[in-house]
């Protein structure tokens, strides 16, 4: 089966601001892909282009094998979407939202939706306007997942939700994945959720992916060493496979990817030492790779394989 989601060298600017500058990646069938990036990095833009709501200025994207600019209603029906802020008609009741979905989507499973609705404790007669953020997020995800989507696109579904509600949301997603092997593309700020649920992680920075790797690979391939001497820019230049030299009290932490003999030699010359927890958390890595004082990402500093 071909990749249900594909980006090939997608560029998009808004006025003078280039938001995407050559975004390329794929999501495989059944894969859960987490798209990370700081605010304004272009995550929402990428999703809007994928769904055909916005045209790329260069390059192309495909959804279920169809060019995003030529999506037909029957392709759209195979896609579930939860947008930022969970767009729902505020005057509808919970029950009406679900019936509305059932009426507009032939694949929608109303019985399953009602069962899940009850399990989550959502009152069918409550108006959307009176629901909490968390309840709205649950309802939006429910509506998206009960349409038996082959691809699910979630734009920051956990934004503003407390940990308990987020766990429930993850539960709904896990059930969906276990049932059907749906491909999922989601963006989020909650990196611990990513570590639980993602198969693959992409970090969007300066309009491109500077990381595109499975989570397991990332954990295996990235290490941290501490050195006392040298300036950050020199270290980043002189140590092979150094993603980033991050200032730390009395020296720098070197974030290294795929350490090989050339790296080891350079480290020996610098009298680098192991640091406790030599493997950085996803959060450490994210913060260091996307920090503001970092110059435009040099091509060498990528984990995209």
């Amino acid at each position: 089966m071909s990749s249900p989601i594909r980006f090939d060298d997608v560029h998009r600017r808004f006025g003078a601001r280039a938001v995407l500058r050559g975004l390329s990646f794929r999501v495989q069938p059944g894969e859960v892909y987490a798209l990370l990036g700081r605010n304004g990095a272009g995550k929402t833009t990428a999703m809007r282009i994928l769904l055909g709501f916005l045209a790329p200025m260069h390059g192309r994207s495909e959804l279920l094998g169809v060019d995003s600019r030529a999506l037909t209603p029957d392709v759209r029906e195979r896609v579930g979407l939860v947008s930022e802020g969970h767009a729902l008609y505020r005057w509808m009741t919970v029950d009406e939202v679900l019936r509305f979905e059932a009426g507009t989507r032939t694949r929608f499973d109303l019985t399953k939706a009602q069962t899940l609705r009850a399990r989550l404790g959502l009152d069918p007669r409550a108006k959307v306007a009176t629901l909490s953020r968390g309840q709205r997020a649950q309802l939006a995800l429910l509506a998206a997942t009960c349409g038996a989507p082959e691809v699910l696109v979630l734009d920051d579904p956990a934004m503003g939700l407390d940990p308990v509600v987020r766990r429930d949301l993850l539960g709904v997603m896990i059930d969906l994945l276990a049932d059907t092997g749906t491909s999922v593309l989601f963006s989020t700020h909650i990196l611990s959720d990513v570590e639980r649920i993602a198969d693959r992680v992409g970090i969007l920075h300066d309009g491109r992916l500077i990381v595109d790797a499975t989570l397991d690979d990332l954990k295996r391939r990235v290490e941290v060493r501490f050195v006392r001497d040298g300036a950050a820019s020199e270290l980043e230049r002189d140590v092979p496979r150094c993603l980033r030299a991050a200032p730390r009290a009395g020296g720098h932490d070197l974030f290294l990817v795929d350490v090989a003999d050339d790296t080891r030699r350079a480290l020996a010359n610098l009298a680098a030492t192991e640091r406790q927890g030599a493997v950085p958390s996803l959060e450490d890595l994210f913060v260091e790779l996307t920090a503001d004082d970092r110059n435009a990402a040099p091509d060498a500093a990528e984990v995209t394989r």
Binding site: G30, E31, V32, R167, L170, G171, I174, D175, L177, A178, D179, S192, E195, R196, I197, A198, D199, L215, D216, K219, R220, G277, A278, V279, S281, L282
Partner: protein, 132 residues
């Protein structure tokens, strides 16, 4: 049985799961013939991706630790590792070598290492294996 994983640990979640299952069997909280939770149950319970659980179960099955029975789930095998004796011996040697090396660098001598291993074995008696 609850299998705990730490998603923030540098160790990949599926490796953690593989080890947790092996540990549970070695400590006797899981025995030959016991049924493991389904992929979905475990994914739900630990809030992790079902793909990850499925991958861990595949790895355990490939090593002969568990067996999948069509339609009824995954079970702990009755007779232990399906690996060839030579391969089992090779892996054990590698583990012992690692223990000796790391132990040495922690500043322990041969006697202390022997004692530590003996102490661990008497503190956690291994459940009997049917074929050994």
């Amino acid at each position: 049985m609850r299998l705990r994983v730490d998603p923030t640990s540098p160790e990949p979640i599926f490796e953690q799961l593989v080890f947790r299952v092996k540990e549970a069997i070695a400590q006797g909280s899981l025995a030959g013939g016991d049924r493991l939770p389904s992929v979905r149950e475990l994914a739900r319970d630990a809030s992790i991706n079902p793909n990850t659980v499925a991958r861990a179960y595949e790895a355990l099955e490939a090593e002969g630790v568990i067996v999948r029975r069509q339609g009824s789930g995954c079970f702990v095998t009755e007779k232990g590792s399906a690996l060839a004796t030579s391969e089992r011996k090779r892996r054990l040697d590698a583990l012992v070598q690692r223990l000796v090396t790391e132990g040495f660098h922690l500043g322990f001598g041969a006697r202390e290492l022997r004692d530590a291993l003996a102490e661990r074995l008497s503190a956690t008696p291994l459940p009997p294996r049917r074929d050994s």
